[in-house]
Amino acid sequence: MPLLELDAVSRDFDVSRPWLNRVIEREPRRYLRAVDRVSFSVERGETLALVGESGCGKSTVARLIVGLYHPTEGRVAFAGRRMQMIFQDPYASLNPRWRVRDIVAEPIRFLGTSQNVDQLLRQVGLSPEDGEKYPHEFSGGQRQRISIARALAGEPDFLVCDEPTSALDVSVQAQILNLMLDLQARLGLTYLFISHNLAVVSQVADRVGVMYAGRIVELARSAELFSRPRHPYTRMLLDAVPDLSKAGRARIAVAGEVPNPLSLPPGCAFNPRCPYANERCRAETPALDDGVACHAVHEKRI
């Protein structure tokens, strides 16, 4: 049985105009579907990454999983002991008025776990003396270590990490990613890793789900996805990643932008940007089948 399972989970947000406007201008309520029938499962001990551009719904999925949002439709099933979340901004997610010791100890007190603050701090590469300091005395990378120590204090077996290194410098990012890999190996943690950075994802994930306009368009083992991307959007994303080995060479600039979620094109949401789109793509939404949601791939056109 997988540790976490999402079954056709959708989430709508009400973006209607105020009541009076709706009555006077006879407008119906309007809903924005941020996540549309997303299904996947996460096995114990693995890292599943969700990648996509801003507004694709990846953070909404994270919030649905930890229960910060309730699904409009579908079901989230968690078979583990406890989950914790690590946020992007280590400046906003730590209480500036609390000492680090109290921040890390809060889940221990609240949940009654048998963790030890000094040990937790050592585990994330800080020293027990750091517990007496306040968050502002630390750099971004060290704060993210504190966030991780706090998350581990609740003895979770599942961690939802929403862009955990996006606010950090590259050399610090490397330290945090390595720390996360070490902790996973040592404590047998399961991660859901949300990121817009494909290169980061390729270094930490076992499996990767690519999201576009609220749906998963490709879901595959990391090794396969990065060596043989199938969905045209995945290919486009991979082409758009700046490549150090291509110094001086031009990359193919991708045309177009992510569509407005309030007025998604009919059929496959990617069809206006897709070089392989045909009539069927403009009319019928492709389902995720065999790890990819694309008519062109299913019909073996590409």
């Binding site: 590259v170 050399s171 270094q203 990391s222 700046p242």
Partner: protein
């Protein structure tokens, strides 16, 4: 050379003594050349750009060195003259396009105003020029978009408008501070292509400040790596990426995640960059450096030839 910076030093006097944010920074940029300036937060990349434009936040000020634009010194110009130079000779693009534009005016009006501030053009001429700029930066349906407000544009399109504004008076030098950082990868690629075209077609010198080595790899010809307010390595992009000479650059290149087919640990540099009030004597990187020896702790290295690049590292000093 369009821009020449020599031994630039910027200090921030504080109650507890003076903080040196830039220390002996020298470089130059030729026409049509894109120079990448890379480094981590606090390394002094943005301060360098701001010092060149003389837009340092007080109490920060230039305490030594020279900045020349087309052979003329600009670091000692009176404020009024400097103000005229900004926009006219130096265009600037900041990271956050939303705050670079006035939300109350249409983008057409903002462009026209900028053009007419710097160039002696009539209303109609300014409008024609503004439209052609919008087309040049790749805004579709420029004619209709002309009367739209900034919030009606997407992030990528807004950044194009900001670039059009920066180009309005045909500046000789374009300073782009993290121009693609707030954008999605697919949009980033479009903006990079645009910046390259601008440098090539207009013969402008571009100073591209970013923390993203990937962006520099694809845009710049040369790159300067900054650490603790100094340039620690400078050279052709291919050389610096494929054969970095300074131990910090070696670590930095190794810590950049690349697309790989398997899960793996990254190279990591232990520790972090020192704060401005605690820069160690000698080489500022010495406490983190795996190759440190006596001289590194006592004597500050200047940029010296290292292969085809130049690096501020005693490892490359002739014995």
């Amino acid at each position: 050379m369009i821009l020449e910076v020599r031994d630039l030093k910027v200090e921030f006097p504080t109650r507890r003594g003076s903080l040196t944010a830039l220390d002996g920074v020298s470089f130059s940029i030729a026409p049509s050349e894109v120079l990448g300036v890379v480094g981590e937060s606090g390394a002094g990349k943005s301060i360098t750009g701001m010092a060149i434009m003389r837009l340092l936040e007080p109490p920060g000020r230039i305490t030594a060195g020279e900045v020349s634009l087309e052979g003329r010194r600009i670091d000692n110009l009176p404020h009024e003259e400097m103000r005229k130079l900004r926009g006219r000779k130096i265009g600037v693009i900041f990271q956050d396009s939303l705050t670079s534009l006035n939300p109350l005016y249409t983008i057409g009006r903002q462009l026209e105003e900028t053009i007419r501030t710097h160039l002696p053009l009539s209303h109609d001429e300014a409008r024609r020029r503004a439209l052609s700029l919008l087309k040049e930066v790749g805004i579709p349906a420029a004619q209709t978009r002309y009367d739209h407000y900034p919030h009606q544009f997407s992030g990528g399109m807004r950044q194009r408008v900001v670039i059009a504004l920066a180009l309005a008076a045909e500046p000789k030098l374009l300073i782009a501070d993290e121009p693609t950082t707030a954008l999605d990868v697919s949009i980033q690629a479009q903006i990079i292509a645009l910046l390259k075209r601008v440098a090539r077609d207009r013969g402008a010198a571009v100073m591209l400040i970013t923390h993203d080595m990937g962006v520099i790899a694809e845009t710049a010809q040369r790159v300067a790596v900054m650490y603790s307010g100094r340039i620690i390595e400078i050279g052709a992009v291919e050389d610096v990426i494929h054969a970095p000479k300074h131990p910090y650059t070696v670590g930095l290149m190794g810590s950049i995640p690349r697309i790989s087919a398997r899960k793996q640990r990254l190279v990591q540099i232990e520790g972090s960059m020192p704060r401005l009030n605690a820069i160690p004597p000698g080489c500022p990187f010495n406490p983190r450096c795996p190759h440190r020896f006596d001289r590194c702790v006592s004597e500050r290295p200047d940029l010296i030839p290292a292969g085809t690049s130049r690096a501020a590292c005693w490892l490359h000093a002739a014995a």
